[in-house]
């Protein structure tokens, strides 16, 4: 098998192993707690930030999974765990059928397949490197000769809509925010990854520039056959980009499913509240009442049972005691809410239908 990094004509789609039905990325039981004091006898750490607390999801080949949630929900930590920038406390990450870190897919090979674009376009570029050196760095690390790596950097600049002749020799402080984010995208693509994680990649941009970058991401995805994990707090942007949406709350998945379903008829009350919190675009139809009161709780000491029960308007006694499992309400739409689960004991849940005996 030819080395995809050394061969610029190599088609990423040809690296497909498990076929279209196999998820490109599948994550099970992902846990990450930060800090806290662990007793010397082991056991549960006290005072730890439970950033990601048991998260399962999968991303199909060629789709865009949108990840939404408020601060402290764990979406950025999830991205960093998937990216292997930080090590998970527990959980398994499987890429195209191979466990990450296994003999078949070591970390180095995995990192060519998955790349990330960060939110802060300035902090994510080395101020002392020119644009072309920044983009060529990854390929050079993987043994591509300098001249070829630079040539590839120029091709990528053209691809992200920056004229190589004008931009290749510039430094980050000579670029606008939108241009810097294009460079970040080009760098992520330099290793020809199959999955790109976009962690609030357009959030810091001016709205007029944000739209340009979103268009660029759509074009690149179509041209290169990419798969995106698109993290954002802006539901409008996620609605535009994502095929499926995963809603996170305090380190857990609240709801996951097709974006048109979730963003039209949400099943989890938190998703509904998030949608209703988006500022109105109609001056005659302004928001009259805030959907939720107060701030998201502190992930150091999350509420018992359903983590949303302290802010939920449908909360019932059982919600404080029973953590709702993530269960399917219809094919490919899963919700972690007792109301959506027949027979759960929540007053608003449907009664359990007796299976035909």
């Amino acid at each position: 098998m030819s080395d995809p990094i050394l061969d610029p004509t190599f088609d990423p789609a040809a690296r497909d192993r498990g076929g279209p039905a196999q998820p490109l990325l599948s994550v099970t039981g992902l846990v990450k707690h930060f800090g806290g004091k662990r007793s010397w006898r082991g056991g549960e750490a006290k005072g730890a930030v439970r950033a990601v607390d048991g998260v399962d999801f999968a991303i199909a080949k060629g789709e865009t999974l949108g990840v939404v949630g408020e601060s402290g929900c764990g979406k950025s930590t999830t991205a960093r765990l998937v990216m292997q920038i930080i090590k998970p406390d527990a959980g398994e990450i499987v890429f195209d059928g191979e466990a990450v870190g296994s003999r078949a897919l070591d970390l180095e090979a995995y990192r060519r397949e998955v790349q990330m674009v960060f939110q802060d376009s300035y902090a994510s570029l080395n101020p002392r490197l020119t644009v072309e050196d920044t983009i060529a760095f990854g390929p050079r690390v993987h043994g591509v000769p300098r001249r070829e790596a630079t040539g590839r950097a120029h091709d990528l600049l053209a691809k992200v809509g920056l004229e190589p002749g004008r931009f290749a020799g510039r430094y980050p402080h000579e670029l606008s925010g939108g241009q810097r984010q294009r460079i970040n995208i080009a760098r992520a693509l330099a290793l020809q990854p199959r999955l790109v994680i976009l962690d609030e990649a357009v959030s810091a941009l001016d709205k007029s520039v944000e739209a340009q970058v979103l268009n660029l991401l759509l074009d690149l995805k179509a041209e290169l056959g990419l798969t995106y994990m698109f993290i954002s707090h802006d539901l409008n942007v996620v609605r535009f980009m994502a095929d499926r949406v995963m809603v996170m709350y305090l380190g857990k998945v609240a709801e996951v499913g097709p974006s048109d379903v979730i963003l039209q008829q949400p099943s989890h009350p938190y998703t509904g509240a998030l949608l209703a919190s988006m500022p109105s675009t109609d001056p005659d139809n302004r928001t009259l009442e805030a959907p939720l009161f107060g701030d998201p709780p502190n992930p150091i000491d999350p509420p018992s049972g359903c983590r949303f029960h302290t802010r939920c308007r449908h909360t019932s006694a059982i919600c404080a005691n029973v953590p709702p499992p993530l269960a399917a309400v219809r094919p490919s739409h899963e919700v972690a809410c007792l109301m959506a689960q027949p027979g759960s004991g929540h007053p608003l849940a449907a009664p359990l239908r007796e299976n035909a005996a």
Partner: protein, 297 residues
């Protein structure tokens, strides 16, 4: 592919205005700082005077004369007076710059190299390596630097080389600390994470992404140590642990002239004035460098 959104209207003037390269910008900003440029001119003057001492000095700095001892400033033939052995002060001050500058700059250069290596290693590696390096450094920190310099110099024995070694050991922990804290900050920047994500080895990341961004601040800090080094070196010489008579060296001259403090106070103060002017110039240049290196987005 239909990428129609080329940022073609981005003002090209921006690039021309800022020029190429980071250090070019630093030098340009530095050249606009009048205080730093004055300090740099003074340092240049002193360095040139030291290098070309044989051509500039009006007299032989070692030639003593028992009958022309302790002449006041302005005496014909002795522009800045003469010392307790009747040697020409001006010539001795010009020659003295040689040793004093070497003793001021050389230990700092050595400490910069060693301290940067230790600090960047500790800062980037983290974990137990960081603990070992930094706790060792802390031990040295427990002693006041003057005491440490005297103790080390005394143990190693008097002499210029030993004084330089002693001063280097005094400065290494200070440089290491700064290097470690700067590196720890840089290590968590997104672009270092992006480099890790691209699969680069630690050594490559340090070389390409860390060193370029940490050496500047460490260098600035180190330049501020030159004045301290000069003063400490003078102190060692004053105590007889550095250079030996009759070598002209500002600290040593201050020592030997102290007996004349009541008869010729102005002449006796001259070596101190030189130490003061040189060290404050290094400090002002270092300050100017620091502000010139602050990149604005």
């Amino acid at each position: 592919m239909a990428v129609t959104t080329v940022d073609s209207v981005a003002p090209p003037v921006l690039a021309e205005r800022l020029g190429r390269g980071y250090w070019a910008g630093v030098l340009r900003r530095l050249s606009r700082d009048p205080v730093a440029m004055t300090a740099a001119a003074i340092i240049l003057l002193i360095v040139l005077a030291a290098i070309f001492a044989p051509y500039i000095a009006p007299a032989d700095p070692y030639k003593s004369s028992m009958i022309r001892r302790l002449r006041p400033i302005g005496t014909p033939g002795f522009l800045l007076g003469s010392d307790e052995l009747g040697r020409d002060m001006l010539s001795r001050l010009i020659y003295g710059g040689r040793l004093s500058l070497v003793m001021g700059v050389l230990p700092v250069i050595c400490a910069f190299v060693v301290g940067s290596f230790l600090g960047v290693t500790a800062g980037y590696a983290g974990g137990w390596l960081n603990t070992i390096i930094m706790r060792t450094v802390d031990v040295f920190y427990a002693f006041p630097s003057v005491l440490l310099a005297i103790a080390l110099s005394g143990t190693l024995g008097a002499g210029i080389t030993n004084a330089i070694v002693a001063l280097t050991i005094v400065f290494v922990p200070q440089v290491t600390r700064v290097a470690e804290s700067v590196t720890t900050q840089i290590r968590n920047r997104d672009y270092v994470e992006a480099a890790r994500v691209s699969g680069a080895r630690a050594a490559t990341i340090v070389r390409v992404h860390v060193l370029g961004n940490v050496l500047g601040p460490i260098f600035v800090y180190s330049t501020s140590l030159i004045s301290v080094s000069m003063i400490l070196a003078s102190g060692l010489s004053f105590l007889g642990l550095g250079s030996k008579p009759p070598e002209p060296e500002w600290g040593l001259m201050l020592n030997t002239l102290r007996t004349a403090i009541y008869s010729q106070p102005l002449v006796a103060a001259l070596p101190g004035v030189m130490i003061f002017i040189t060290s404050i110039s290094f400090n002002l240049l270092s300050d100017g460098l620091r502000s010139a290196m602050e990149v604005k987005a």
